[in-house]
C-alpha cells in the first residue's frame, strides 16, 4: 500500500468537484486528492498513480459510475470504491450495489463525508496482508449456499411468498445476510438507523426490490458444490446460526435491549464471515491451515496469521467494515478469538459472540473445523459471570435430530 493516502473524485458536475476540493483542502497535508470530470480521465490517472479510494458519481455522460467502478474493480482491485450520488432511481440500485463498497447520498454533509473517508482509510490500514488486500476489495459478494440461494430464487417467483418469508431464508445464510444488510444500510435505501436483521431488511426493501437485486448479476453468488462438500459449509452455516441464537440469549440474560439482542444475533451469524472468504478465495491455503491446526493442536487463527498474515476473524471484520455494516457486528467478528479485546469495555455484544462461539465449539463440532480452544474462564471471572455459564451451555444442548447430524 502506498505511503501517501490518495483519493480520486469523479463527478461530471464541475461545481461539485470544486466544492469538494475546497472543503477537503484542509486535508492537503494528509491526503493527496485528484479531481476528474469524467471516467476516462480518471482511469488514465489511475493507471499512472496508485489511488486508495475512488469516489464516483453515478449518472454521468459517456461513462457512467457503474461502468467506471466495474473497470476499476478489475484493473485496480485493491482500491476502495465509494459512490456519491444524487440519484434515487430504483433500476440503477442493483448494478450500483454490486460495484461499490458503499454509497453516500447527495447531498451529504461534510462531516459525514470526512468520517466515511477516514473510516475507509482506517480499514485499509488494517488489511496488512498484501495477498488479502488484492482480493478483499474486489469481492462483489460473499458466496451463498447453493440450496439457500435457489430457495430464494424460487420464492421470489412465488406470488404467495412475502418479503418476510424470503428474509427468513436469507437470515440463515451468511453470504446473503451480509449482502442484504450492506444494501439496506446503504444511503440509497437509507433507513435512519442501521438495520441488523435480514428479516426486517427484507420487509423494508419489499419483494420487488429483493427480486430485482437477486436477479442482478454479482449481487448474490454461490459456492460450487465441491467446496460446499470439502469444507462442510452447511456445518459452518449451522454453527453460525446457533452462535447467533446463543449470542442473543446471552444478551437477553444480561438485560440488553431488544435492538441489541437483534444485533447480537446478526453479529453471531456473521462472526465467521472470514471463513466464507477463505473458502471462496483461499481454499488451497485453508485446507492446509485446517490440516496443520489438527496436527499441531493449535487454533486455526494462529496458523492463519502465519500463512496469510490475517486471521479469518480480522478478514471478516474488514469485509463487513468495507461494506458499511454496524460497528457492533464488525467488532464481534474481528475479535471473536481475542477474549481480552472483547471485554475491554465490559460486557458487550462482542463478549456475547465470543462466548457463544466458544461454547458452541465445545459442544458441537462440524467436520472441517480445526482444533478449538477452551473458553477463557478468566474473562468470565473478570465480568463476574462464571455462574451463568452452565445456563448458557444448556441453551445449546443439541436436540436429538441435531445430535444425529453433528455428533
Amino acid at each position: 500500500m502506498s505511503e501517501v493516502k490518495r483519493i480520486i473524485f469523479v463527478d461530471d458536475d464541475e461545481e461539485v468537484l470544486d466544492g469538494l476540493r475546497r472543503l477537503l483542502h484542509k486535508m492537503n497535508g494528509e491526503w493527496e486528492m485528484d479531481f476528474h470530470q469524467n471516467g476516462s480521465s480518471a482511469l488514465s490517472a489511475m493507471d499512472k498513480k496508485t489511488f486508495d479510494i475512488i469516489v464516483s458519481d453515478l449518472r454521468m455522460a459517456d461513462m457512467g459510475g457503474v461502468e467506471l467502478l466495474e473497470i476499476v474493480r478489475t484493473r485496480h482491485p485493491d482500491a476502495t470504491r465509494l459512490m456519491l450520488s444524487g440519484c434515487s432511481e430504483q433500476p440503477m440500485y442493483g448494478k450500483a450495489v454490486s460495484c461499490a463498497h458503499q454509497f453516500i447520498a447527495k447531498p451529504c454533509d461534510s462531516e459525514q463525508l470526512m468520517t466515511q473517508l477516514s473510516r475507509s482509510f482506517a480499514i485499509r490500514d488494517r488489511i496488512r496482508s498484501q495477498k488479502v488486500a488484492k482480493v478483499l476489495p474486489s469481492l462483489r459478494s460473499l458466496p451463498a449456499m447453493p440450496a439457500a440461494y435457489k430457495k430464494v430464487l424460487d420464492m421470489i417467483e412465488d406470488p404467495r411468498c412475502t418479503s418476510r418469508d424470503v428474509g427468513q431464508v436469507i437470515s440463515r445464510d451468511i453470504g446473503m445476510s451480509a449482502k442484504i444488510l450492506q444494501i439496506v444500510n446503504s444511503a440509497f435505501y437509507g433507513p435512519s438507523t442501521k438495520i441488523s436483521d435480514p428479516v426486517r431488511a427484507s420487509v423494508y426493501l419489499g419483494i420487488k426490490a429483493i427480486k430485482a437485486l437477486a436477479l442482478t448479476d454479482g449481487v448474490f453468488s454461490t459456492l460450487p458444490e465441491e467446496k460446499v462438500e470439502e469444507f462442510c459449509v452447511s456445518g459452518l452455516q449451522e454453527h453460525c446460526v446457533r452462535v447467533g441464537a446463543l449470542a442473543r440469549s446471552i444478551c437477553k440474560t444480561q438485560k440488553m435491549t431488544d435492538q441489541q439482542q437483534e444485533t447480537a444475533m446478526m453479529a453471531g451469524i456473521l462472526h465467521d464471515t472470514g471463513k466464507m472468504i477463505l473458502i471462496s478465495e483461499f481454499d488451497y491455503e485453508l485446507a492446509e491451515i485446517i490440516r496443520l491446526s489438527r496436527v499441531e493442536k493449535r487454533p486455526c487463527h494462529e496458523i492463519e496469521r502465519e500463512t496469510i498474515d490475517l486471521t479469518h476473524a480480522e478478514l471478516g471484520g474488514c469485509l463487513l467494515n468495507l461494506w458499511g455494516l454496524g460497528n457492533d457486528i464488525i467488532e464481534a467478528a474481528t475479535f471473536h478469538h481475542e477474549p481480552a479485546e472483547c471485554i475491554k469495555d465490559g460486557f458487550s455484544i462482542a463478549t456475547a459472540v465470543y462466548l457463544a462461539n466458544a461454547i458452541d465449539h465445545q459442544f458441537c463440532s462440524y467436520l472441517s473445523t480445526g482444533w478449538s480452544e477452551e473458553i477463557d474462564m478468566s474473562i468470565l471471572e473478570t465480568l463476574e459471570l462464571t455462574e451463568q455459564l452452565p445456563e448458557w451451555q444448556r441453551v445449546l444442548i443439541p436436540t436429538e435430530a441435531e445430535e444425529h447430524e453433528y455428533a
Binding site: 461545481e15 466544492g19 475546497r22 472543503l23 444524487g86 440519484c87 432511481e89 430504483q90 447527495k106 461534510s110
Partner: protein
C-alpha cells in the same frame, strides 16, 4: 339527451386517461428532478462549510495581526513576534482562501438559482387539471418544460432555444399545452437517447417560437433517429408505441394531437427523415378560436 350523457362519459373517461398519462410522465421525472436538486445542494453545502472554516481561519489570523499591531505600538517588535505572525499567515493559507472565496460564493449563488428554477418549474406543472381557457405565456411554459426535463436530456443532448420575445399571451388551456410540450420534448430526448445508446454522438434539440398570422407557432426539432414512413401514420394512434415496457405507453402523441387540433383548433405538422431527425410544428390560434368552449 341519451347521446349527450354518452359523450360526456367518454369525454370523462378520456380525460381521466390523459390525466393518468400526465401523472405517469411526471412520476417518471421525479427521480431526475430530485437529482437536479440534490447536486447543487451538495456543492452549496460544501462551499458553505469551506466559507465557514475559511472565515474562522481568517479571523484568527486577524487576531494575530491585531496582537502584533498593539505589541508594535508599545515597543519595538522582536524577531520571535515577527516569526509568530508569519507562521500564522502561512498556516492560514491566505492565498488559497482569497482565490477560492469569490468562486465559492458565485457558484453557490448559481446553485441556488438552479434549485429555484427547478422549484418554480415544478410549480408550473402543479396546476394540472384546471382545464380553463385563459391567456398564458407559452414561452415560459416551454422554458419550464426544459427545466423539468433537464436531467432527462442532459446526458444525451444539448438544447438550443430561439423564443420570440414578442409572442403575446395565448388564449389557451395551459395545462393541456404544457402536456403537449412535455410529450414532444420527452419524445425528442428518447429518440436521441436511442441513437446515443447505439453509439451515436451527443444530439441537439432545437426549440423555437414565433408568430405566424393569427397563430403562435412552436417547433420542437431533434437530431434523433427519425420516424420511418411505415409507422408515420400510426404514431398518433392511442397506445401505439415502439418503446419497451416502462418507457412508453403510446399515449403521448394521441394526447398531443387531440389537445392541439380538437381542443385548441390548432394544427400539428410533422417532418421527419430517418437518421436525420424529426421536427414537430405546433400552431395555436393566439385569440383562442375554440370550437367547443
Amino acid at each position: 339527451m341519451e347521446t349527450e350523457t354518452l359523450t360526456d362519459q367518454s369525454t370523462e373517461a378520456r380525460r381521466e386517461l390523459e390525466r393518468t398519462q400526465m401523472l405517469q410522465n411526471l412520476g417518471k421525472l421525479t427521480a431526475g428532478i430530485a437529482h437536479e436538486i440534490n447536486t447543487p445542494i451538495q456543492f452549496i453545502g460544501d462551499n458553505l462549510q469551506f466559507l465557514s472554516n475559511g472565515f474562522e481561519d481568517i479571523l484568527s489570523l486577524l487576531c494575530e495581526y491585531e496582537k502584533f499591531r498593539t505589541e508594535a505600538t508599545e515597543a519595538a517588535v522582536s524577531n520571535d513576534q515577527h516569526e509568530r505572525v508569519l507562521a500564522a499567515k502561512v498556516k492560514t493559507d491566505v492565498d488559497f482562501i482569497a482565490k477560492e472565496i469569490p468562486k465559492a460564493i458565485a457558484q453557490s449563488i448559481d446553485g441556488i438559482k438552479r434549485v429555484s428554477s427547478m422549484i418554480s418549474a415544478m410549480r408550473d406543472f402543479s396546476h394540472i387539471d384546471e382545464r380553463r381557457f385563459a391567456p398564458a405565456n407559452l414561452n415560459k411554459a416551454i422554458e419550464s418544460t426544459i427545466v423539468i426535463l433537464r436531467n432527462e436530456i442532459k446526458y444525451v443532448a444539448d438544447v438550443e432555444t430561439n423564443l420570440d420575445d414578442n409572442l403575446p399571451a395565448v388564449m389557451c388551456c395551459i395545462d393541456e399545452i404544457q402536456q403537449v410540450f412535455l410529450n414532444l420534448v420527452i419524445n425528442a430526448a428518447h429518440s436521441i437517447g436511442d441513437c446515443h445508446e447505439e453509439g451515436g454522438d451527443r444530439g441537439l434539440i432545437k426549440i423555437s417560437s414565433r408568430i405566424e398570422g393569427d397563430d403562435a407557432v412552436f417547433t420542437i426539432s431533434d437530431s434523433g433517429k427519425g420516424i420511418s414512413p411505415e409507422i408515420r401514420e400510426k404514431i398518433f394512434e392511442q397506445f401505439f408505441t415502439t418503446k419497451g415496457p416502462g418507457k412508453g405507453t403510446g399515449q403521448g402523441l394521441s394526447i398531443v394531437q387531440k389537445a392541439v387540433t380538437e381542443r385548441h383548433n390548432g394544427r400539428l405538422e410533422l417532418e421527419s427523415a430517418e437518421g436525420v431527425g424529426t421536427t414537430f410544428t405546433v400552431y395555436i390560434p393566439i385569440e383562442g378560436k375554440t370550437k367547443n368552449e
